[in-house]
Amino acid sequence: MRNVRIESGAFDPHALTSNLAKSCPEAGGIASFLGAVRAGGGVQALELSHYEPLTMAGMELLADDAFARFDLMGLSMVHRVGHMVPGDPIVCVAAASRHRRDAIATIDFCMDHLKSAAWFWKRELREGSWHWIEPRAQDYSDKDRWEK
């Protein structure tokens, strides 16, 4: 199973992971990561934009790369775009594999790339004004761990 999507409306990350698990009965391990808009940090809203001709193609290449690097039975990768509020899911990556470490490494790998190397732009509404967010220095170094 392979499920790569950009969603412009709300999605249920737990259903996504549950469906992946159901569709991969021969997997011994399912790892998932859910990124959500944090509450309590002063962010009133978050907006994600993308450039459709590049974004989907980039996510498909990232999925190809994950299947090539890790021993995977299934992969779901869903990223929101549009307007979100605290608590809303932004991204969910779920991976199914025979042994646990491939599934865990896959969500780590995919998130590092979605964070700083996929065609998304993110801004936050704080105290009534919008601020563009750039990846932290650590997000770039996290991604660079995977370079061969």
Binding site: S49, P53, L54, W119, E134
Partner: protein, 80 residues
């Protein structure tokens, strides 16, 4: 026909609009001129990419957009 320049992410704020139509053909010098000084300054950075016709250019200085092409200006990304 014309070339459409598309401003992504924070470049949209600098440009003051989402898209701008300019006459074809459009090369790098023409893009810097058409994008305005604030965006042109950003385009100088290696971290800002340019896509033409849905493909990221490996050498943005070699831009050669024709009638009907969309030229997307891509600042540093942040997802997740």
């Amino acid at each position: 026909m014309a070339v459409t320049i598309l401003f992504l992410g924070p470049l949209r704020d600098l440009a003051g609009e989402e898209t701008r139509e300019v006459p074809a053909p459009l090369d790098w010098a023409g893009l810097l001129d058409a994008a305005g000084p604030l965006v042109a300054e950003q385009l100088a950075s290696e971290r800002v990419n340019v896509a033409c016709g849905g493909k990221v250019l490996s050498d943005k200085h070699g831009l050669n957009a024709q009638d009907g092409d969309e030229v997307a200006l891509l600042p540093p990304v942040s997802g997740g």
